[in-house]
Amino acid sequence: MTLLILLYIFFHIGGFWILRASPSQKKEMGLFFGLTTLGAVLWGSIILRHPLDVNKAIGWMLSHWL
């Protein structure tokens, strides 16, 4: 988990460093932050052995609604 958090922080530092050099807008920075955070949450759920399993959720929805 510590490794994941460190990787997440370094990825952000690197990403924002590169984005700062290019004429990017706030929207792009927000998208970068949002997507990385979503990915980190998914990874965190796998590491904690409580995966936010979208496949299971879709399967459940299809078998209940159809």
Partner: protein, 367 residues
């Protein structure tokens, strides 16, 4: 949006590689298990269905030239409903990319490098694909064009050599063929790989001349290739053995022996699979990135592509094992893909027609 132009030949190759992608390693085993010696027949029906669906998407695309499915949804359904549909497509592209990544890492883990964790394969291949996505669709298409011959020949030459092992008795398995029941049980073959090709609606705007011919013939040629490979697998390995293997084509290559000189060609097949899957994954990754960029009006693809590695690599690990993956595909895949490949495009066509009629009536009443 990227200023790219794809030739008909490039689109044909992309369609071919996209459809053959992971299906030629995963599909034969399941299809032979469910349809026995008639597996190849089921696949003919599947690829004809794929061609009809391709016609539907091309029709929708021809009504909105130069627009991708995400842009069409926003134009037809408005900002909010269209935005929601676009988000669904983003999720769809990410999901297929994740499943393709998982198929590749499972294959490498089971057959080639059993001690390497799945996540290592996932992250490495996704990093390469993200780079390809940032470089653009033309780069992906050129790589595909360059490799298509290299991918086809090392596959079909050993396969043709193995024809000496062909046994017609393999087709005499006691099995009563009930067409409708069999087609219903094997409907996942319609979804995987043919309904996935709805992703090409993101790429149609880049295709120049002969779009229809290139796309439909790509589906047809890939269908013939896959039908032949299923037929060969039945003829060479037999129904009983092929239906109990996850990767029957890989086993054919492993057991192949030609004049005691050429043998164990599975390494050639592994490289082939890695390259084909890499192209398919790059294409799906590109569709996901392009859809996000178009939806949020972002110009830099790198801003979206690299963070997506986090999401796709995590999503790819949700299936506990390959059995869970195969079961999910058999139970839910067709119904799930129907939403994206049939329902939404059909709704968009109907809504576009209604809007057109509404405008026409308004004009008539105004004059």
């Amino acid at each position: 949006m990227e200023q790219a132009n794809l030739s008909g030949w490039q689109l044909f190759n992309l369609t071919l590689v996209f459809i053959i992608g992971t299906s030629f390693i995963l599909l034969p085993g399941s299809l032979i298990a469910d349809a026995k010696q008639y597996g190849w027949l089921v696949f003919i029906w599947a690829f004809l269905y794929g061609i009809i669906l391709g016609g539907l998407w091309l029709y929708l695309s021809s009504k909105f030239p130069g627009l991708s499915i995400v842009q069409i949804a926003v134009q037809v359904l408005g900002k909010w409903a269209g935005g929601f549909v676009s988000l669904l497509y983003v999720l769809f592209f990410i999901q297929i990319a994740s499943w393709v990544t998982r198929n590749m890492s499972d294959f490498m883990h089971i057959n080639v490098m059993p001690r390497t964790p799945l996540s290592v394969f996932n992250i490495m291949i996704l990093a390469v694909c993200a780079y390809a996505v940032v470089k653009g669709i033309e780069s992906i298409a050129m790589v595909c064009e360059l490799l298509s011959l290299l991918l086809t020949l090392p596959f079909w030459i050993p396969f043709s050599i193995m024809i000496q092992e062909w046994d017609w008795q393999n087709f005499n398995v006691p099995y009563v063929f009930h067409p409708w029941e069999t087609f219903l049980n094997t409907r996942y073959a319609l979804a995987f790989p043919f309904m996935e090709t709805v992703s090409f609606m993101m790429i149609f705007p880049f295709a120049g001349r002969r779009l229809n011919l290139a796309f439909l013939s790509g589906i047809g040629f890939a269908g013939i290739n896959l039908t032949l490979s299923i037929l060969f697998t039945i003829g060479v390995l037999g129904v009983e053995r092929a239906s109990h293997l996850i990767y029957p084509i890989f086993i054919i290559f492993r057991e192949m022996e030609f004049t005691n000189f050429i043998e164990h060609l599975e390494s050639v097949l592994s490289i082939n699979i890695l390259l084909i899957v890499c192209i398919k994954l790059s294409l799906l990754f590109y569709c996901a990135v392009l859809a996000i960029c178009q939806l949020f009006e972002v110009k830099e693809r790198g801003v979206v592509a690299y963070p997506l590695i986090w999401i796709i690599s995590a999503y790819a690990l949700f299936f506990k094992n390959i059995v869970e993956n195969v079961n999910w595909v058999k139970m839910y895949l067709f119904n799930y893909y129907a939403l994206y490949a049939i329902v939404i495009p059909a709704v968009l066509i109907i809504c576009a027609r209604m809007r057109k009629k509404g405008r026409f009536r308004k004009r008539e009443t105004a004059t």
